[in-house]
Symmetry: C2
Subunit: 432 residues, 2 copies
């Protein structure tokens, strides 16, 4: 009767179970690094987005006026919100501030594979450290999260770049619109060569400068000194040193093997200032960047706060699931049940006692709540993938027994009702 809105999704239990497992894995890794969960609003003032990016950004958002005349927008990303929260309690918060959260965001864009109008991200950010170890920790959390999901360095690769190397190189070509040129670099792999060079010349580079700049971007990791020599500026020297320090720290943190220097990586958002990176499927089968992150040292100040360096990343769960599925590590989409307590006849007090005892052991336990027949209950137990069925029948109970049925083998045995579940938290068929 009512249809779901275009670009929005319903997650039924089987799929949700897999998604929950992936989210928990990423969050657990972040928690172990000391990132603390925060909770944030779904709505913010529309100006928070329009002030930075112009009113045209509102066309890509769910923006509207509320009954009180406030111009609001459903949050399209977390960064402005966390920036607002950092500024609001700047004095009280001990630095570095390490925050994370998983939640939906919303953009009014045309849906395509791996892109929805409602999409889920886990945001992981550090505020208050300009040290290369902070950038490296972000790369380490990202890499460990993927590794915990079962992905290896054969599956994914972080293409690591540096905004200040790009900006510093562009500066040497004279009067260039750096923002526009960096946006062009971000589009390099997505558009054809002619369009790409046109964007670079639109940004103020001559044809030959554009070619020269593009060639510089392919400088290998072990020859970054050539860029320093080319530019001859402190800015590029320091940026290269910073990138090398970040990579050295990833070595100590055990994740250097997941990182490749790639100056043709730029990230789309304007607010990045230092190291940026994008995660790619090593096989190329998932063709888009899976997610990315980087350093944004000026954003907090732009939000009216004290200068506060920041670095973070945010895996989107839609593209992440594409990578996991490609690599064969997406969790099985099915529900699991430890025990089904099957009730035959007027045995509810005993069946309920057994179910409570099993739940007290931390197990997932279902019992009949629909007054159904033996066969219907067994079918249901099968549909929820119950491992073990405990049959509580009137006649068995007269003999002080219940019947255990192993749903994998189909084997059955009688056990004394008083001994079940006994001391064991999660009793198995074999135990009895």
């Amino acid at each position: 009767m009512y249809d779901r809105i275009k670009g929005f999704r319903d997650f039924y239990p089987e799929e949700m179970q897999a998604r929950r497992q992936v989210t928990d894995t990423i969050e657990t890794v972040a928690r172990q690094y000391g990132f603390r969960e925060i909770g944030t609003p779904a709505l913010e003032r529309a100006e928070m987005y329009a002030d930075k990016s112009g009113d045209e950004i509102l066309e890509e958002l769910y923006a509207f006026e509320d009954k009180g005349g406030r111009k609001l927008a459903l949050t399209p990303e977390l960064t402005p919100t966390v920036a607002r929260m950092v500024v609001a309690k700047q004095q009280e918060l001990s630095k570095p501030i390490k925050w994370m959260s998983t939640r939906p965001f919303w953009r009014y864009e045309e849906p395509q594979q791996g892109r929805f109008r409602e999409f889920y991200q886990t945001n992981v950010d550090i505020f208050g450290s300009a040290d290369p170890a902070a950038d490296a920790e972000i790369l380490a959390v990202a890499a460990d999260g993927l590794t915990e999901l079962g992905l290896s360095s054969e599956d994914f690769d972080f293409k690591v770049s540096h905004r200040d190397i790009l900006g510093g190189l562009l500066e040497t070509f004279g009067d260039v619109n750096t923002t526009a040129a960096i946006r062009a670099v971000d589009k390099r792999a997505k558009i054809d060569e002619g369009q790409y060079f046109e964007l670079l010349t639109d940004a103020g580079l001559s044809d030959s400068q554009a070619r020269e700049f593009d060639e510089l971007l392919t400088t290998p990791a072990d020859s970054l000194d050539e860029l320093v020599d080319f530019a001859g500026t402190d800015r590029v020297e320091q940026a290269v040193e910073n990138l090398e320090n970040v990579l050295a720290a990833t070595e100590d943190f055990g994740v250097r093997k997941h990182c490749t220097v790639s100056l043709t990586t730029a990230r789309g958002l304007d607010y990045y200032t230092g190291v940026v990176f994008e995660c790619f499927d090593s096989t190329g089968e998932v063709s888009r960047a899976v997610f990315g992150g980087g350093r944004y040292d000026t954003l907090i100040e732009g939000f009216g706060g004290q200068p506060t360096p920041a670095v973070g990343f945010a895996p989107g769960h839609a593209t992440l699931s594409l990578l996991c599925q490609r690599a064969g590590v997406w969790p099985e989409e099915s529900v699991t049940t430890d025990y089904y307590v099957l009730q035959v006849g007027d045995t509810r007090p005993t069946a309920a006692r057994i179910a409570r005892d099993l739940r007290a052991g931390g197990n997932i336990v279902e019992a009949d709540i629909a007054g159904r027949s033996f066969g219907a209950q067994l079918d249901y137990a099968d549909s929820i993938n119950a491992d073990l069925v405990v049959i509580v029948g009137e006649r068995d109970l007269e003999n002080g027994e219940v019947t255990l049925k192993d749903m994998t083998s189909g084997d059955q045995k009688s056990v004394p009702v008083d001994a079940f579940p006994g001391e064991s938290k999660s009793p198995t068929f074999a135990e009895f």
Copy 2:
């Protein structure tokens, strides 16, 4: 620079930690009963709410038109959404369907204590069973959830009522607007007596009928037969029997002690059809209902599905936190950290190795990512409530040692670096 929107909240890590603990506790209990998590959209078509409740309901919602001309609303509750999802896959889903989820909802209402424009609920629902055991299981999950939070029967009380008893009694008075009269009962405790009786007479009862009806509502649990005698209808007889069967099942499920029959409880929403209940603070200090639930057997059919009985409840986390705080069981609002690895001098490779080993044991571990002094690191470790600080210093390392500092006692001791953390997953100060 930007302010938060009225009625919306930011949750910083300390408060979020407590909220997460409470949410996890409720969800874990529901999972142990076999409720499966689902994921649902934040936006639905506005008609989904307006069709049932009239266009005026949209005044209380965040409703707007998107760029495609769709009339949308931020979901004010979950029930219509899950009804839509059940209808969409009615044939495939094995019954009973047992679903749960925790997420925010939005209403454009005047904020007050325990009520926000963005509010969080855990929804727990059963579809496809009309059996009293299903109603009782909902009461059991609700009661067990609160008990797991540390609340006892001294702290909370479920006031249990039955819509069909109310409706059946009203029917005996002739031509009464049952919906309006039940809404009046729902307001009974919140408005003055004169207003209440006026609402009842507006619904079609005479003054004396209103008094008589109100007196019937105070019938004690052990005298419900008097209502059957009074009405003399099958409807009231069956409704009373149903309520008694539900209470008998709560006995088997171990939660009868949390339930009190209270026919003056009605629940505000129109779609309830059978047993309804509200959870109250036993001390009355939290004066509003903490949350409620009940049976809604006609909603799925109203959404175009096959007749599907349903029952559920939905604790709102704002009022739940008021109850927990009143009872002194609200979790401590602080962050916890197992280890801080303090790095002095050029010792990052060893410090990073130790941090990784400790994280592999499942611990929360922070290390320096800001290049700070010994004292600044120790202050930070203190601010994040680190239990144990592992000091990795250049001179200690020359002797093959690190220093452990117990942050509670302040005691320190040296341990061989190669032996730390050793085999222990979560090594303690006392172990070394």
